[in-house]
Amino acid sequence: GAGVSQSPSNKVTEKGKDVELRCDPISGHTALYWYRQSLGQGLEFLIYFQGNSAPDKSGLPSDRFSAERTGGSVSTLTIQRTQQEDSAVYLCASSPRIEGAHKTDTQYFGPGTRLTVL
């Protein structure tokens, strides 16, 4: 079946512009995660959605970052007033359900969006 898809695959923008990154999770997956992969910081958690619950935004690095998930499916990560340090690969993952303490679920990753801020 179809995996997690992300668009665009590459985005180049100028400092100060806003960008939107899109994630289409695997159909039926209720949990959706955004991560960021950068040279200096490795892979870090950004935000988590579970069903219709309010998202957990504890990993967002600043208030310039926001995300929404419409209809419990597609998610958009928005970065306002981009800075050069926002350059990274943004990865989206989904998992089928949350069971117990959540820790056994496998997360399936999309190919990522490579963001370059000039």
């Binding site: 995660y33 892979l43 958690f45 988590y48 993952a93 959540h102 820790k103 679920d105 990753f109 999309g110």
Partner: protein, 114 residues
């Protein structure tokens, strides 16, 4: 805080020789543990996962990992490396926090020489 430590940032082996990628986790809780592989310009692919069942876990492409609680380790091995194994490997933990978010090691880049 929970953490995962990959002991080598870069490992180089010859084709046909064994692969060992080392990983240690912090022992505050009993996490689920995963190994993911990332080929250049590709997404993360799950190799295998440990969820407190069998301590020796077999994954795809001939990889396996052994959970050793006494050593807080989850090293990844493969008996014979192939050129196609060249990639970056991430040891990942999930301690079951409220989000269930993954905690990643820094990654180990595996090079395979012909």
């Amino acid at each position: 805080a929970q953490s995962v430590t990959q002991l080598d940032s870069h490992v180089s082996v010859s084709e046909g020789t064994p692969v060992l990628l080392r990983c240690n986790y912090s022992s505050s809780y009993s996490p689920s543990l995963f190994w993911y592989v990332q080929h250049p310009n590709k997404g993360l692919q799950l190799l295998l996962k440990y969820t407190s069942a069998a301590t020796l876990v077999k994954g795809i492409n001939g990889f396996e990992a052994e959970f050793k609680k006494s050593e807080t380790s989850f090293h990844l091995t493969k008996p014979s490396a192939h050129m196609s194994d060249a990639a970056e490997y991430f040891c990942v933990s999930n301690y079951g926090g409220s989000q269930g978010n993954l905690i990643f090691g820094k990654g180990t880049k595996l090079s395979v020489k012909p």
